[in-house]
Symmetry: C2
Subunit: 384 residues, 2 copies
């Protein structure tokens, strides 16, 4: 791959891994058959498709028939929320997919302090007897904070036990969007204490518009898209065999490399953070230092206009996002930073730096030099 730039925005998009492209290729042309076809080549494609779903299931410690393939994380989240009745508990720093999907529903947004870490006691306090879903992302897509899933999972299980004890019929489930964490954190659904999980191939070196919703078998989904009955009737449409085979390959690869990659990215991130904080003593790192994705650095240079900074960096081949790279948010202040109580001048001077496969020691050192120079120039320009 040509790479004439320093790519520091892996949370926004990732290129397909070569092995993912290789795995997908046959299904574009030679093995293009409709998996619902009755003849042997179509049946083989069906088998490969189911096998890819099985590989996805294994990576998260689930069963094949609990996986529903969707067109990315956003649809997966919408399908989960659409399938839930009652009251929903989520946080003020969730992705827009969750916030928009719960907007028309009875819900509570749990507040989150400056650390960006959700307090499980606050989740407990937000749950009412009418709550049927708690949805909290494993890692925040803007600031990279990792949430205490096991603790929240235990709270949900305790509430479920209480309802059974009390003879209350309303179910309660714990869902998480792990799109941002999958390459760097354990995503075993039992260990996380989840009832439902969303994943996104496009954030893990797989194809865009491919994702999944895993739900424990006791959860009944209500389809958003009906028709030919694919995905056990839960999500109709001719299957994207190439995309799902690519997704499975991508997830297996990130799972295999997770530990070493976390250590590697953590080292690069810490170097970058140290360097920037040393040179710019009033730089502010957002959120918890400890409970954070290894490759994630959300850092602010108060008084600097981050949008200007992004363009200045781009002219030096450093590609980085402002504090929030969300489509809905561009040009406005991040709802995550606002929820954390970050002051406006800090929010407006923040960059989201997210590392991944396209980074190594050499290019991060070079990128650091450019960041120091360009940020220094901006500080001089504004006379600070």
């Amino acid at each position: 791959m040509k790479q004439p730039y320093y790519y520091l925005d892996h949370a926004a998009a990732t290129p397909l891994d070569d092995r993912v492209v290789t795995a997908m290729q046959p299904y574009l042309q030679d093995d293009f058959f409709n998996p619902s076809g009755p003849y042997a080549p179509a049946v083989e494609v069906r088998r490969d498709y189911e096998s890819a779903k099985h590989r996805l299931a294994i990576c998260i410690g689930a069963k094949l028939d609990e996986i529903v393939i969707t067109a990315g994380a956003t649809e997966s989240i919408n399908l989960m929320i659409h399938s839930t009745g009652g009251h929903i508990v989520t946080t003020a720093i969730e992705h827009h997919a969750v916030l928009e999907a719960v907007a028309q529903r009875e819900h509570t947004l749990v507040a989150v302090g400056p650390s960006g870490v959700v307090r499980s006691a606050d989740v407990r306090a937000a749950i009412t007897p009418k709550t049927q879903l708690v949805s909290i992302a494993l890692a925040n897509n803007e600031i990279g904070t990792v949430q205490p899933m096991r603790e929240i999972g235990e709270i949900v299980r305790a509430e479920r036990a209480r309802r059974i004890e009390a003879g209350e019929a309303a179910p309660i489930y714990f869902h998480s969007d792990a799109s941002q964490g999958a390459g760097q954190l354990d995503i075993n659904v039992a260990r996380l204490g989840l009832d439902a999980l969303t994943l996104n191939a496009g954030k893990m070196y797989g194809p865009k518009q491919v994702g999944l919703l895993w739900v424990a078998s006791r959860i009944e989904l209500i389809p958003l898209v009906v028709g030919g009955g694919q995905e056990r009737g839960l999500r109709s449409g001719t299957e994207n065999v190439a995309g799902v085979v690519g997704f499975a390959t991508a997830l297996e690869l990130v799972c295999q490399r997770r530990k070493s990659e976390s250590v590697r990215l953590g080292g690069l991130r810490d170097y970058l953070q140290q360097r920037l904080c040393d040179v710019f003593p009033d730089a502010v790192v957002t959120g918890s230092y400890k409970k954070r994705l290894a490759g994630h650095l959300h850092i602010s240079f108060p008084g600097i206009d981050a949008e200007r900074l992004v363009f200045a960096l781009e002219s030096r081949q450093v590609l980085v996002a402002t504090g929030s790279a969300c489509a809905a948010n561009y040009g406005t202040r991040s709802h995550v930073l606002t929820a954390l109580g970050v002051a406006p001048d800090i929010a407006d001077g923040s960059l989201r730096i997210t590392l991944g496969h396209l980074n190594d020691d050499t290019n991060i050192r070079e990128a650091a030099d450019i960041l120091v120079e360009v940020i220094g120039n901006e500080y001089r320009r504004v006379g600070r």
Copy 2:
């Protein structure tokens, strides 16, 4: 592409055209950026994405900002029906995506006679003052019958005019799923008299799980999937740039080749039909001979078990579907044939033969020889 078989099931799936693969390739790795990113390479990807949508719009005679990209035709149909209030008129022979989506809604299924052609007078009679949508596929996916779109479009326009005159507020729109017809029929939305159109890349040598919904700008869509605000807020989720560029390339190619390809496929189909009807005088061709897709032949051999026949043909490298290849239908009798009043023994003996790019004079002649031999064997086996 290797092709050790005779593929006669183009209505079920099509391989990607080489030029489609070439067009998609850059966006998988080199230009993988999130189109919502602020830096120049991402902005260029955004431009390519919008340009691909513009090319799609031009092919159907529409405007760029009237196109919503979806994960295939099924989602597109669901989005249209979800966005409609009131009563819906459709036909008894529609695809399951339409039938399932209208099932929970007030609707009328217009009956269709043995020709498979919807009578526009029947559509007119089914429209009530509460009707807000008429949805009829351009060409039927099982029997290939082409519907009188202009006539139906005029009926819808007349009803709209009547309501305006009468001061009635309820809108009425005409939607069509043209997934099956796009490679062989004119799909200019104005000439078809449509207010909304569904297309599917996977049926026209483009990628699976990529489709579009075009709606005239006066129609307000109600999103099924909310979140980051992509597709003007009507369908959120990080854009499948590779897929949409592939879709645009595929649609341009089929539009360019439409006339010559229709003539070519019509010739091959007529040869096959003639040959089979000559050798098997009790063979029955389903539906109108004239108002039919050029590459489509739905033919029945009464007394023969079509599922057995499909397997026998498969062992001779001829890949063909039974009368209905729909996932929801497999193993059961086709709702289309039932609606047409086709007798059970004719329905159960029917094949759907659909021709396309993988066919030429030579392989259709060879396939015809094999069909004649294998069908003959089956007739002998059942003693007829």
